[in-house]
């Protein structure tokens, strides 16, 4: 909140010398009452009485009153500026493949070799929170759906990004035989369903709180499970105005898959071919107005997210409200204290002066 005091009619301040008038009057009175006395030495030691001790009170009060009136004429205005930021965030559903093939270690974080899932987690976290060149999406609703053979909604769309990142971090690859598979269609359908729910509830009362919805699909395989055809899911997204950004995760050619020995330890790596259904993913993205990317390494993945960051703009709007207070007639706060209107203050000073003049100040030539 910004506040400033300005004088709208400052030329009136030229009248400020009028405040000297009471002093001139007092001076004239002095001159009129002055008398010679040969015992000036004794009179100089005479004690001051209440009346002589306060000879300056009346001119002070009057000068202040005049100064306040002149100041009021200059129209001091306290301007408060209140700026509010309205954001219309997007809704982004992350759909992350956690099939066994995501364990392929064809990515690096820093210098360390890492598997696809970890790389996805790492970059997606930066995408949400910001970091490593990504700006973050603080105003967006972000949700998380993971899938292997079955799609699973891990986190609803939320602005509680801490929770979301935690959920993302807790995603484990599907190593069980019963879970193996890649249900792209189901997962996208589930994600779209989540987005639809959120948009419906958020925009229920006419306000468009959520503007634009996107689904980011990260997978490294082909659709080989689930009941929903991926293209049908894409069609569904399209009807709801949801753009699907598909990211094919995995290097080209062969990728090293870890082979676990007894006790879960990695004993060796087995080179396996990378099979990404790029045709399908491209078709899905194109059908919804999104885009298909291929990420062969962590850097590439980061670049893709940067691109999405740019594509999915968040509308941030700042509205500035300005309030004026005429200090001459409206009280205001100053340094934590309530100050009455300037004219009321002046009136109080005049009243006080009148009181003094009517009591002990009577013979002071008021």
């Amino acid at each position: 909140m910004l506040s400033a005091i300005s004088l709208l009619q400052w030329p009136f301040l030229l009248l400020l010398p009028l405040a000297a008038l009471p002093w001139l009057g007092r001076l004239r009175w002095f001159r009129r009452t002055v008398a010679i006395h040969s015992r000036g030495d004794l009179l100089a030691q005479a004690p001051a009485s209440l009346r002589t001790g306060t000879w300056w009170l009346s001119p002070v009060l009057r000068s202040l009153a005049i100064a306040l009136v002149v100041l009021s004429l200059a129209r001091p205005v306290l301007t408060n500026q209140e700026s509010r930021t309205f954001t219309e965030g997007a809704a982004i559903e992350l759909v992350v493949d956690r099939s066994g093939s995501m364990l392929a270690e064809d990515f690096t974080i820093g210098r360390d070799r890492t598997n696809r899932l970890e790389a996805v987690k790492h970059v997606a976290t930066n995408f949400i929170r910001g970091g490593e060149g990504l700006t973050g999406r603080p105003h967006d609703l972000v949700g998380l759906t993971v899938f292997a053979r079955f799609a699973d909604s891990v986190s609803p769309l939320t602005t509680d990004h801490d929770y979301l990142v935690e959920a993302l971090d807790g995603t484990r690859p599907a190593t069980e035989q019963s879970e193996s598979g890649t249900a792209i269609g189901d997962a996208v359908a589930l994600g779209v369903e989540r987005l639809r729910d959120t948009m419906q509830s958020a925009n229920r009362d006419g306000h468009e709180r959520v503007k634009g919805a996107a689904l980011i699909l990260m997978t490294d395989g082909e659709n080989n499970a689930g009941d929903t055809d991926p293209m049908s899911a894409a069609e569904l997204a399209k009807t709801l105005g949801i753009r699907v950004y598909a990211i094919g995760v995995g290097t080209r050619g062969y990728a090293p898959f870890p082979v676990h020995g007894p006790g879960g330890r990695i004993v060796t790596y087995q080179q396996q071919p990378v099979t990404i259904d790029e045709e399908l993913l491209t078709a899905m993205a194109d059908a919804t107005g999104g885009k298909y990317f291929r990420a062969t390494d962590t850097d590439g993945l980061k670049k893709i997210y940067e691109a999405i960051d740019v594509l999915e703009k968040t509308r941030v709007e700042q509205r500035v409200n300005t309030f004026h207070r005429d200090l001459a007639v409206q009280g205001f706060g100053l340094g934590g204290r309530d100050v009455p209107p300037l004219l009321a203050l002046a009136a109080a000073l005049v009243a006080l002066d009148a009181l003094v003049a009517a009591t002990w100040g009577r013979s002071l030539g008021n």
Partner: protein, 294 residues
């Protein structure tokens, strides 16, 4: 050239005081200052018929023959009027200013002196010696002195009573009668006066105004000291202020009187509202006679 109103004033003083001076002062004048007018002339051998008490025993013892001191009575006195013209004299609430009072008193003294064929001198002073007119005889001289007294415009505003008296003592070669006309509102005059009193006959004439002893009830007044120019706002309606002033003034005049009585001088005190100025002078002369008579 004398301004007409000044001439009228001088004439008024002359006429109003002439009779009183002739009747009341004349007889006492010389007897009051007698003795001072005796001047040592010579020491000569004793001749039968000389008063025994005039024998100078020192000379007689030294020469082995009786000698007597012979005095010549000085027929003419030298009277000097030292008149204060400082700023504090430009004040008076009753009838006249202290300065006018001082001038009139000095005029009466000058007329008294001249009608007794004495020489009169005049010293006008403020914080410096403003004017010095050496003693001379004659009516014309006295009129000139009175003109100076009434019309002189002093340069200084402050008071240096002690300095003026010391300077006067240096200027006088013969023992004289000094009338010091002042309000004695100064410091450090006690010693010079006592010093001068050893050789000269000093008569302090104190001029006062009753408002100097009591503050009139006049509401709030900005009082200016005529000598320093300092102004102070004084609430004369305040009982505390008036009481403070009274006691301070009483203490000051008591201190002044004590200092004057220490010098054994016969002081004259006159207020500005005094109607008959001759009377206090005559009273003073009478007191001197009585003291001598003792």
């Amino acid at each position: 050239m004398i301004a007409p109103e000044l001439a009228a004033k001088i004439r008024r003083i002359d006429i109003s005081t002439r009779k009183a001076v002739r009747e009341a002062v004349a007889g006492r004048w010389h007897s009051a200052f007698k003795g001072r007018g005796m001047e040592f002339e010579e020491v000569r051998p004793y001749v039968p018929g000389d008063e025994v008490r005039t024998i100078d025993w020192n000379v007689s013892a030294r020469t082995g023959e009786p000698h007597v001191k012979v005095f010549r009575e000085e027929r003419e006195l030298s009277i000097v009027l030292a008149v204060d013209l400082s700023g504090s004299l430009q004040y008076g609430t009753r009838g006249r200013l202290k300065r006018e009072l001082a001038a009139e008193l000095a005029a009466i003294l000058a007329f008294s002196a001249v009608s007794n064929n004495d020489k009169v001198g005049l010293l006008l002073f403020t914080d410096r010696v403003e004017k010095w007119v050496p003693p001379r005889r004659g009516r014309g001289h006295v009129l000139r002195l009175i003109r100076e007294l009434l019309a002189f415009e002093p340069v200084g505003r402050g008071t240096n009573l002690g300095g003026a008296i010391d300077e006067l003592a240096r200027a006088l070669h013969r023992p004289s009668v000094l009338f010091v006309v002042s309000d004695f509102l100064d410091r450090g005059w006690e010693q010079p006066i006592a010093r001068t009193g050893l050789r000269h006959d000093v008569i302090p004439v104190v001029v006062e105004d009753c408002a100097e002893r009591q503050l009139p009830k006049a509401g709030i007044v900005a009082f200016t000291d005529p000598e320093t120019g300092a102004t102070r706002l004084v609430d004369t309606s305040s009982r505390a202020v008036r009481r403070h002033f009274e006691s301070a003034a009483a203490a000051a005049s008591e201190a002044r009187d004590r200092a004057l009585s220490r010098t054994q001088m016969e002081a004259v005190r006159v207020d500005t509202d005094c109607a008959d100025l001759v009377e206090p002078i005559v009273a003073c002369l009478r007191r001197r006679e009585e003291r001598r008579g003792r």
